[in-house]
Symmetry: C2
């Protein structure tokens, strides 16, 4: 009987520990409903393209590395029209986006590139398959 | 002297093993120069939007899961204009893309949605920061 009690206690402890781990994982994870997903469409003055790309690359790398609220910033340009920039931007929530706008790296990007930008459209998007987002980006993150 | 020889042999073996591991990692990883990166811009007939989204979701999930050459397919719609679909598509190389077009799930998507599509533009993109791609998508993959 004592052994059975000990075994029961062991399993109760195990369930408790595993539920705590689960909770801490959930606290770290993002919530698809709160996320801001955007495609920015930016046209650059061709005289400044190289300079613009170098500043954007530095800013987006810093944002992902330094800001937990910046989930992803993926900048691209159109092959047939390299002055047409497209950026996939994913922020954890509205607060994370507001705080991103106040960072030194974003402010530096904004002020130094202002005169290089011919047009700018910020288009809010919604993901079609929110549950599969980790699987969708797994190979990219693992480089495999 | 014998001990020094043994230590040398141990380090030579260690370097050999680690270089083999490195090689196998590189064989699995993707090469940014070969990758096909695309944003598809698709306008859907509003009468079929729900049906289209359901078929697209199924097709893109299957592509990423079943095809090692499909690195990522991330479908979205514009919040203010939900019939405007945008899909970020990343294929390992041209062969992987050609083979994707021959899969049963892609063929099913293409034939069942043909009449629902009002316009379709396939825009080839280039990534601005190729080296940082794993870091850019790390939080999405880890759901953190």
């Amino acid at each position: 009987m004592k052994l059975t009690n000990n075994i029961s206690l062991f399993f109760i402890a195990l369930i408790f520990v595993s539920s705590c781990t689960q909770k801490s994982e959930n606290e770290n994870s993002f919530n698809a409903d709160d996320m801001i997903i955007r495609i920015s469409e930016i046209e650059i003055d061709s005289n400044y393209l190289e300079e613009y790309i170098s500043i954007l690359k530095e800013e987006s790398e810093a944002s992902v590395r330094l800001e937990p609220g910046v989930i992803s910033i993926y900048p691209m340009f159109q092959k047939e029209n390299p002055t047409e920039i497209r950026i996939l931007e994913i922020y954890r929530n509205k607060d994370a986006y507001e705080s991103h706008l106040q960072t030194p790296h974003f402010k530096h990007y904004k002020t130094t590139t202002l005169a290089m930008v011919k047009s700018l459209k910020l288009i809010d998007m919604e993901a079609i398959d929110e549950e599969s987002m980790p699987e969708i980006f797994e190979k990219l993150a693992k480089n495999e």
